[in-house]
Amino acid sequence: MPHSAAASASTVFSAHEITKIYGMGEVQVQALRGVSLELRESEFLVLLGPSGSGKSTLLNILGGLDVPTSGTVTYRGQNLTTASERDLTYYRRKHVGFVFQFYNLIPSLTARENVALVTDIVDKPMAPEDALRLVNLQERLDHFPSQLSGGEQQRVAIARAVAKRPDVLLCDEPTGALDIATGILVLEAIQQVNEELGTTTAVITHNAAVAGMADRVVSLSDGRIVSDSVNERKVKAGDLNW
């Protein structure tokens, strides 16, 4: 039975008035200027915004890769803002699946080994082969990243993210480096995971067309949320109009 977002579903993430300032080279960047947001169980959220709007920073904070400068973020009631480095590591390890714009596969490991990297360190993972079958890569198990196309690499990354059966799947511009056809294949894989496994999913994109497949769309600009709307009619990734 397909899952869908419901108002009654429990809250997974709750962010309150978070800001983030970091130094980049010799410049100080204010990436977030007071963002509040809730994300519910099994929800498919798309974060829209131009580059530099703070979406990646927000996603990194939700995923426990980074901590806000001020404000609080909780995951199922657990405060991520005050968590130690070690707690954040175990939080990521247990609950979060990441997909990055540039795939971030380990180039010296094959597709199967890249997935096994994750299945080795978590409880009750999928078999790497099963995870790769989920993204239609059962034929490319023993290929190295350099032998795979961009779309295939990104699907390995998705398999790697979902193999641990994460509670949340966070995708940072997963199609950013891909052409349209390949991008759609990748989005289909993400949508399939969200629907079949009920994984709460947040996808960052600057491509407004992708918003059509979300339950909810949040737009950011200059570190602030400028709109937050629920999609009345979700479309299949394959039917998106780019």
Partner: protein, 813 residues
Amino acid sequence: MRTQRPLKKPSSQGSLRSALFVFFAFSAPLDRKLLRDLWALKGQALAISLVIGAGVAMFIMYLSTFASLRLTQATYYERYRFADVFAGLTRAPLPLRERIAEIPGVARAEARVVVDVTLDVPGLREPASGRLIGIEIPRVPMLNDLFLRNGRYPEPGHSDEVVVSEAFAIARDLVPGDSIGAVINGRRRDLDIVGLALSPEYIYSIRPGELVPDDARFGIFWMDGRSLAAAFDMEGGFNHVSLALSRGASESDVIARLDRLLARYGGLGALPRSLQTSHWYLDNELRQLQSVGLILPIVFLLVAAFLLNVVLTRIVSVQREQIAALKALGYTNGELSWHYGKLSLLIGAAGGALGVAGGAGLGSGMTSLYNNFFRFPTLQYFLPLNVVIGGVLVSFAASGLGALNAVRRVAALPPAEAMRPEPPARYRRSWIERAGLARFLSAPVRMILRNVGRHPVRAATSVSGIAAAVSMLILGTFFLDSIGVLMDQQFFVIQRQDVTVNFVLPASARSFHEISRLPGVLYAEPTRAVPARLRSTHRSRIVSIQGLVPDPQLNRVVDVNGGPMRLPPGGLVLSLKLAEVLGAAVGDEILVEILDGRRRVQPVPVAGIVEEYMGTSAYMEIDALRRVAGEGDSLTGAFLQVDGAAAGTLYDRLKDIPAVAGVGLKRTAIESFNKTLADTFYVMIFFNLLFSSVIAGGVVYNAARVSLSERTRELASLRVLGFTRGEISFILLGELAVVTLIAIPVGMVTGYAFAGLLVAAFNTELYRFPLIVTPRTFAYAAASVLVAALLSGLAVRRRLDHLDLVAVLKTRE
């Protein structure tokens, strides 16, 4: 087709497993990454492994040889009852032995006759020296017992039968059945060789007054003690005592009592085992092995740690995003730190294994070299477990140290930060440009300068790595310079005589005139050596004070500036080392206790200190010395300058003069010095050199590879913009050249400092090495590193020629 790895069953005890995971590092995918990273890095990894291997090999080689010699020495001493105290005297009646044996602490006392004679060896024109030692016949177990290599002991009643020292027999090709002529108490006698033997007393047999052993011209002969005593008018008497002490006995106490007993019999001062000639040389050699075995490897391992640090830090920066992704996936800092730490440890382990195997081989070779040098019944090489463990630990220490910085960076890398593209590196104008010289510099030159200036710490570490190679090369070769100066001083500045003649007993001025009128003698100077104990406060040493004419032309005393010194009319001139041992300075009074003749004791001021590299010496103007000793015109030897054409006749005559106990020739001394060097030092120098080259190659190659890895993208971009291969090579290799050129003078300075350290480690009473590094050695070290740099540059340049421009531009770094 790849074999499929059996999948691990999920475990419910996650935290326990992750704990075990960190410990045993059981992660197939990460370990595969590790092996593949290592493979991609094989050139550099091999270079570093070789440096570690060289360090560990030296550690193992020196320390296992040390342990083998030490064990052999201890076993030999124990089994053959090497004595604890030795004393020479003029003559004492045999019953005195009983009183000596009653000294508290003495377990066993043996008295014997020991005499030095001139030998006439078949096939050798010049005279050789022999030491005759009386033993009990038929044989009884004794102190300083003999190991009979072959043949038999002399039989009772056969007074001319002797057992000869093996080293001399081998050098002179003598076997049982041969005879050798000796001048015994003025009469020439043939000694019949019946056996070849070794003694713990002569593991290192050196002729009195010489610097290095000369097995071909100095032999030890053991014969029936009664017939030896008879031949030298010593019946019922003895002139040498050996003591074994009981456990817990006070050595100094026994020596003091023995000296009192022997004083009226011409006692020359008893010596503890630690000052016995053979033991002293052996012990010094062992101590040097040990200190070199500890110092040199440290240098290598520090260099290896530095190389590992550069390479690993670079890997961590290249794999920044991989590390971030792994952290995002939930890998802990501990797991990832261990992952990179293991890379270092694997390289260290490879080096350690290489070093242990190589070191064992070299140690075994080195031990057999010592077999030619020291005489042991058997010298078995063994590799002690603790040395192996030490070597392995040391290699891990180097790799751990090398990994420290990289591992810290891995742990400190914030996962989110790493997911963002790296901000552009901060560049500045170099100081050369700021100084207004910019317009003279082309863009590539500016790139080189800014690159060197961008990572001043890194550039500095590269400089120190290459400098370390330069200094190791200097360290490996400067001994030749040092030995050259030492030989020059010893054989051409100090010993200008061709022949040194020693008399059996102090002789009169008439003997000197006789000697100086012998055919072939161009010029002669007398010498009087007086055995004495020098005391200063609580320290003392027994030496032979050498009395020389006031302005010696042949055997000269050389002052601190290397020039000949006129001996002061009164007072002692001490070699620097002896002054150190006695804690005496110019102007201090030393209590001189003359150990022969009237045995006078009186204070004598120190009038001068000279720097000598060999032994510990004391000099006095000959007449001043005679006054201190309270005797007339006596002399104990002469230095001769000889007409080479008439040398043969002179040697023949010298062999027949009964008063002559020994004849030393400069030519043969130089020969045996060179032989000793060839036997030991040249071999060590060869290995040091070999290992230094490993360092030079390793450092430069690694520097080139790391710099290539950092700049691939930039250089490929330049190629796309239309730069030629030559131009981009110039940018990359130019940086290496700048770093190398800075490193060379730095390495020269540190090499000189290291040489100073090593010279200090070699500073023994036996010999010192002058701290001399010739321009040739500096030039050689610089040239070797330049060649290594050039070869590494070419190897890297080949890679530049194969840059895949498109691929490089596509990947995001």
